[in-house]
């Protein structure tokens, strides 16, 4: 009851927002790079299965690789051109995966391959899920989880609420903010498809209070026949996490180990919904996405519509960066990844690119002090774990106790505990490693 009124979840942190420099910059089209590099694993799940060969010419929008199973999506050509090479390419995680080098035709019109439009009125729920998978859509908020998988309501469960995630709680990122201000029609069209796919009767768009303008704008645009409600929630990290958002909006908790649908909800990122609303009526596949490019070392900061596969190096050359850049993050500063080289490319999951120089890196590697049991991490953890305890156990490799007694597997690696720890203890790193070890042990059994 109490929490319902507060409209937010327990604990959490307030990192600096750093959104002012890009939040008012409208989305701009990014130029095509001479070559795009497309890893076949751009999403969580099985990598797509290659359909083209070296030397083949393809047209923008053409299918390059098909979905390889249910938890997988296809890949479309973001530009017309020639397949030059098919070989392993680096990804943001540091792993090498098979990828396609596609050389763009010079001065091509870049007209898009016609698709199979999906008629909203006649399509069944299954047709829509298939359409979403065929369009290659994954969560654009950064998780890159295939969206149709999430939307498949398990037997016996009911989706009462379709929740659109317009929280964008990561500092610096403003893509969802811009999408909400500029793509209202796509969003509402997407909602129509999703309501049909999930049978949801209520739709709630959750937006943090620092994007009041987007909330007001969308509210003024809600079509009369749609049961959509906008809910503004206090600014807090990690509110963009599905479970936290559900708690903020519905005042309920998702059971430990469960999914949002166990609380009667399906949560989809607002930009993903816009993409569904834009692509399905045309029957096209996803070819580009909005990316916030910012950070103190970037000269032309902004929100750009960038073709998937554009090399990071090309992106930075186009926007201009300081000579002495030292750190580049893909994603937000709280959960994003620091890249080790610039030879990776923009993928469907890239929500932001942040560039820092030595002088303005937000965090300097600092000395680690002993835990002073200040309890800051306990107060920060949104799911009420005891990070200091888990940290000690991780050091002693007491993985079983971490899992059985202290709910290690409920940690979703938001990093709030590391953020607040005055002793610089890399708590979330310990938990990532521990979770990986636990999972490995399990699969070996």
């Amino acid at each position: 009851m109490f929490r319902l009124q507060k409209n937010t979840f327990k604990h959490g942190i307030h990192p600096p927002e750093c959104k002012d420099e890009t939040k008012d910059l409208a989305i701009r089209q990014f130029p095509f790079s001479p070559v795009v590099i497309l890893p076949l694993a751009q999403h969580i799940g099985a990598p797509s299965e290659l359909l083209v060969r070296e030397g083949q010419e393809v047209i923008r929008g053409q299918l390059l690789a098909k979905a390889n199973g249910f938890v997988s999506v296809p890949l479309h050509a973001p530009v017309s051109g020639t397949i030059r090479k098919i070989k392993d390419v680096p990804t943001v995680s540091g792993q090498m995966v098979k990828g396609i080098f596609l050389e763009a035709f010079p001065s091509d019109t870049q007209e898009v391959w016609g698709g199979d439009p999906l008629d909203l009125d006649t399509a069944s729920a299954e047709d829509i899920l298939q359409g979403i998978q065929d369009a290659g859509i994954v969560g654009l908020g950064g998780a890159a989880f295939p969206t149709h998988v999430k939307l498949k309501i398990p037997e016996g469960k009911k989706c009462e609420y379709l929740i659109l995630n317009g929280i964008e709680c990561e500092p610096f990122l403003t893509t969802d903010h811009r999408v909400m201000l500029e793509q209202d029609e796509d969003i509402f069209m997407g909602i129509r498809y999703l309501m049909k796919a999930t049978n949801a009767e209520n739709v709630i768009i959750g937006i943090e209070a620092n994007k009041q303008d987007a909330a007001d704008y969308l509210k003024s645009k809600i079509p009369a026949d749609l049961p959509v409600r906008i809910q503004v929630v206090p600014v807090k990290y990690p509110q963009g996490a599905e479970k936290m958002l559900i708690t903020s909006i519905l005042g309920k908790e998702v059971p430990s180990g469960g999914l949002p649908i166990d609380a009667g909800a399906v949560v989809v990122n607002v930009a993903t919904v816009a993409e569904i609303g834009r692509l399905l009526p045309l029957g096209r596949g996803i070819q580009e996405r909005v990316v916030t490019i910012t950070g103190p070392a970037v000269k032309k900061k902004g929100n750009y519509l960038i073709p998937i596969g554009t090399p990071l190096r090309f992106v930075l050359e186009q926007v201009g960066v300081e000579e002495n850049i030292s750190e580049v993050y893909m994603g937000g500063p709280m959960m994003g990844v620091a890249v080790s080289n610039l030879d990776i490319s923009i993928t469907k999951g890239t929500s932001g690119i942040l560039v820092f120089t030595d002088e303005n890196t937000p965090k300097k590697e600092d000395k680690i002090y002993p835990c002073i049991r200040c309890g800051a991490c306990v107060d920060a953890c949104p799911i009420s774990l005891l990070p200091l305890k888990l940290g000690t156990l991780a050091k002693h490799k007491s993985y079983d106790e971490m899992v059985d007694e202290y709910n290690l597997m409920d940690c979703f690696e938001c990093g709030s505990c590391s953020y607040v720890c005055p002793s610089n203890i890399p708590l979330v790193q310990y938990f990532r490693q521990s979770k990986a070890i636990v999972r490995k042990r399990k699969s070996n059994k």
Partner: protein, 338 residues
Amino acid sequence: MLNKTLNISTSPHLKKGLSTPVIMQNVVWALLPAAAFAVYTFGLNAFFVIATATLTCVGTEHVLCKLSKKESTVGDWSAVITGILLGLTLPPSFPLWMAVFGGIIAIAVGKFAFGGLGFNVFNPALVGRAVLQAAFPVAITTWTPALLENRFSGVSSSTFALPFMEPVFDAMSGATPLSAFKFDHISADTFDLGMGLVSGSTGETSAVFIMLGGLYLIARKMMNWRIPAAIFSTVFLLSGLLYLINPEIYPTPQFMLFSGGLMLGAVFMATDMVASPMTSLGVWIYGAFIGGLVVVIRVWGGLPEGVMYAILLANALSPHIDNAIRPRVYGTSKRKKS
């Protein structure tokens, strides 16, 4: 362009500004007003006692680190806090060699024996003080009156007493308000108590300056306000109740709050993060336990003062409180117990 090697770090890439040494430093700043006022009230005696305790603690920490072939941890400032706190709990004319002894015990036994910063079960300064109390019961309960005329021109004869010799205390020793009340039922004026214009340990007497330091730390979010709040409210309610029952034999609640080591203990010792529980509910229980015990010891115990023992006992209890009161994990139905 853009061929530089990039730094890789793991997320989160942002960091809240507070660091452990900065927190510790701020605690030191917060202690300074009380220490300065102690010097004002008790003169050179107090200065020597506080300085000696502090230097000894820092020195002991350094030497022990060197002996155990570890990098010196003096830089984290925690030994400074222990030293000042210890000094503030000692009587102004306490023999300095005894203060040295107390400082060594505080760090070596109270902290190092447990594994250093973060691992100590008890507040190290209180460990030092408790050992001193047991070893030198007379010296530690011999008080100097406040605001002596000659307090800046000389030190009392006991201060530089030779080690292991029976110190000679000045004739003018004053009773503390607590013992005056306990044994003779004389209640000190609340204003004098609040300002610290009474005899007592060097830094325990000025409630106003202690609170000032505490408020500073609370404002900077470097102290858990719930702990002093729980202690004060428990002491106030409990002693208020007793006073209502029989004002003849029980002191007023304000006397209870402002006398003895309660302020210093509640604000700066019970709040030692390492030795206190970590959840909000746990901290309330811990504070209430201390407050209750202080009243019980003062009213019914054989000692005039009970703060030190109350906190030490609560320190011992705090891991158990943490085990019993675990927050309910999101998405689970029950609190876990071990």
